[in-house]
Symmetry: C2
């Protein structure tokens, strides 16, 4: 029997931090930063919440793929954001979808569009539900007769594999582990590993311009797509499968990042790789965060294209038990299915040593480097991080992240401005000092993608307001200082007003004109990308 | 004194093939393939052509940047396509622009848009005029009160250089050599070298999704742009300068490939590189074209990212004096500003030898490899190729190229279908066997970009009709067999009807809705991308 997903947090019921891990996390916050639980950590229960009767009844032709089951409606009411978590623990489910649908084909989706259009219902596409920006939260205001969430989980097949070109045609609802399991027997892999990998889908990745495992080069899912099919209320858009093209503006790139507001990604031809057999990982310590950043720049500009090149500052290491706060960690990895990577790694190591790095974990003849030293401890914590929130929110601790990108010339000034704005916002919203940390999630030749985390002492009953005040302040700072409101978390409902400031106004008009053509009744994911 | 550009062909007056080169070219066609001159090779003269008086008079505020000089009107009547060349030699200048404008700023462009909108005139953006697909040919039909070509040559500055991020803000009218000359003192380079490099512009490259020097990885200009500014009749679209972003559909990617139909690219922040100091080139011969193609696939899928990996078939080598027709040549090059490239080249060489290649030019300790053997001869011919046409057209010889891309799984079948369709079309259009050759201009892990050339015995007075019959047949074959109508030559007027078949219909509607917003009077480059 398969385990049920939690409606209140990350993963399946029964999975999560054990008591020892939870206590260690709480101790770190309490002893390191004076952030203490204000309440217990009990998970919410289904019985404690009552939902209004669904306002919609699907037509009989769609009844077999639709449900109004209470658990399903609650499971699909939220994603995985901090405000989602706060509202779940507050029992705020009044906006839960009336119906959850599980289409099995493109015609099912077209029929759902037709029904919702006629019924005046909003339709929320749902992949794995991992959105941390309110992208699947079914809060669409009062302008609709009801809400239908369309969960793509039944369209989860790898339909074709082309071993010669190394590509596969994959359905939009395939979760990371599902699609990798179907590719593995052929020796191939997509190697797109966002932190949400286990509970996110190919269609969701494409719709949100997901950023994955590769810290350089093939970072964004955008570059891994050969062609894509999107079903819209006006019909289907299916692009031609091509390795490269210069024929007019790219239709694919108009669909990437549309976040369910223009249609549903039902399948895509994806570029694959051979499974890597040559790997090397090294870790370096830097006394100075900016020296580490300069080492990242050197590696990124050297044209070596490491699979991984990340720095994690002393605060984030300390919060995760991987350091004492006195050093920044840099992790560099190369991998190849084709050739030994020594020449690549040797040059990257020179770049690190040239900028003042010292070896934390050595790479030569060390196949387990990724499990050792600060590298290994941080990696283990990274994998467990999505489980932290369900323990922190009910204890009144605010804990969230945001990510952006900036060119190298402006990075140091930008970093100070954002870190200061975040620290100030946490202090003003919570009345005491919080914690702000930074790592690089990705790095480009022309700039890094800094990823900030903040943690603060919240107050039960005021958590949502406190979080919103911090979010507003840091988002305003990111936009003011020239960053992007999101590098790979997507826009969703939470970033919409800042995205509208970032987006060129006339391009916003073009998007609106496109939506008018594709979704003339405006039923698709209202409030996301286009209001 | 600067030399004047030819109105009838490539480059400046006085530049081109000398008598020896011309004779060698004609001998190759005559003796190798029975394609013989039917006329002499005289260039057309200005005096032999008379133009109607211009139908438009610019307002006095624009007079200083506008001209109706006869030479300028003729120079801007055509690009560099085969049908352009045929029409030039036939004296077909009735459609020449009424006015040529040389804006010096964004406000100049906005004023030109306003004037043309009020006057009901079509406006044709013009970079270097190197379009081989009718992209700048001022043939806009009878629906306009006149035609204004907007030549961007005065907006040719590198405005800012950011050495830390390795990027520069460059105006759209900067030609290749101009922008490289401005970057060189800082040790930086764009390293985007399309064959048209000398007479094409940054804005033209971005507007047409140009393909450059790099045969793998950073092939298309798309990947080199950080941000872009486009002036449209409705106002300016200026994107935020970012190393990477996942915030909604990319505004930049909507502007790339818009080919002057949505606006004029006035400047862009471009990603640069250090000037390479480590280089290696090797040449390999293959008895079988498909073995060579498989070697390209092996190198492309190895993740080595060579700067160059090309194959040229026996026919193209023979036409260019670089082979006897018995072998296919493969050229592989690596370059780096950072590190020696031996490890990379050694593995690529293994891929070539594994697939039956033999060394034509060895790379070890051979800095002049790119000048040697078949590699060197073909390279020299490649640089001179744009000058061939002005010698062939007036002698009644049809000579043209087209390019596409296809995934590896379909490549061999595709190649046969396209080659056969081209040979049949040339034979049927001209009444005798012609010549068809193929090379790869670019290669991706999932497929190559095959580049075909065809040459045939034309008949004076019927050349345009003969060429169109061939073009229609090969374009139909490319679309039918699953290729793209263009990999890097762009759509222009010549590919428009095939592009409309390739483009998803609903995306065409989205583009049209976008154009309606940005260019409500429909004055910008009519007949290109959107009719």
């Amino acid at each position: 029997m398969t385990k049920r997903l939690k409606f209140w947090g990350w993963g399946h019921e029964g999975d999560g931090l054990d008591a020892r891990e939870t206590n260690a996390l709480l101790e770190t916050f309490a002893e390191g930063y004076g952030i203490r639980p204000t309440d217990d950590g009990a998970f919410p229960t289904l019985d404690a919440i009552s939902l209004a009767a669904p306002r919609l009844t699907p037509p009989s032709s769609l009844a077999k793929i639709c449900t109004s089951d209470k658990f399903e409606r609650m499971l699909h009411a939220f994603g995985q954001s901090q405000p989602d978590s706060i509202r779940i623990y507050e029992g705020d489910f009044a906006h839960a979808p009336d119906i959850v649908a599980y289409p099995e084909s493109e015609p099912d989706i077209a029929a759902l569009f037709d029904w919702c259009g006629e019924a005046g219902a909003a339709l929320i596409p749902f992949g794995g539900g991992s959105s941390v920006v309110g992208g699947v939260t079914t809060d669409v205001g009062s302008g609709f007769a009801g809400t239908v969430t369309v969960d793509m989980k039944r369209m989860n097949k790898v339909l074709e594999i082309d071993e010669v070109s190394r590509a596969a045609r994959i359905q939009g609802g395939a979760r990371g582990p599902e699609l990798e399991a179907q590719l593995k027997p052929r020796g191939l892999t997509l190697r797109h590993f966002p932190q949400s990998f286990e509970h996110s889908t190919l269609g969701g990745w494409v719709a949100t311009r997901s950023g994955g495992h590769f810290a350089t080069l093939y970072t964004h899912i955008d570059d891994l797509v050969e062609s894509v099919t999107m079903v819209t209320p006006a019909g289907e858009i299916s692009s031609r499968r091509l390795p490269g093209s210069g024929a007019g503006p790219s239709p694919d790139r108009f669909m990437f990042g549309s976040e369910g507001a223009l249609g549903i990604i039902t399948e895509a031809w994806m570029r694959l790789q051979g499974r890597p057999t040559f790997k090397a990982t090294a870790g370096f310590r830097f006394a100075d965060f900016f020296d580490a950043a300069r080492a990242v720049r050197a590696v990124a500009q050297a044209g070596l294209f490491p699979a991984n090149v990340r720095i994690v500052d002393g605060v984030e290491l300390k919060v995760n038990g991987a350091g004492d706060g006195s050093f920044t960690l840099m992790v560099v990895s190369f991998e190849s299915a084709d050739h030994p990577v020594e020449a690549w790694m040797a040059r990257a190591e020179e770049c690190c040593l040239d900028h003042g790095g010292t070896v934390d974990v050595a790479w030569r003849d060390n196949p387990d480097a990724n499990l050792q030293g600060a590298v290994g401890v941080w990696r283990a914590a990274f994998i467990r991080m999505p489980y932290n929130r369900e323990q922190l929110t009910p204890r009144g601790i605010i804990s969230d992240t945001f990510e952006t990108s900036i060119t190298w010339d402006r990075f140091e000034e930008f970093y100070h401005a954002i870190r200061d704005a975040t620290a100030t916002a946490v202090r003003e919203a919570t009345g005491q000092e919080g914690v702000v940390s930074c790592r690089f999630s990705h790095a480009y030749p022309d700039g890094p993608a800094p990823y900030f985390a903040f943690h603060g002492q919240g107050e039960k009953g005021a958590l949502l307001e406190q979080w919103q005040a911090i979010k507003d302040a840091v988002s305003a700072a990111v936009i003011r200082e020239g960053g992007t409101i999101t590098h790979h978390h997507a826009v969703g409902r939470d970033h919409q007003k800042w995205y509208e400031r970032q987006r060129p106004a006339l391009f916003g008009d073009v998007l609106a004109a496109g939506k008018k053509r594709l979704d003339p009744k405006g039923i698709l994911n209202p409030g996301v990308i286009l209001c």
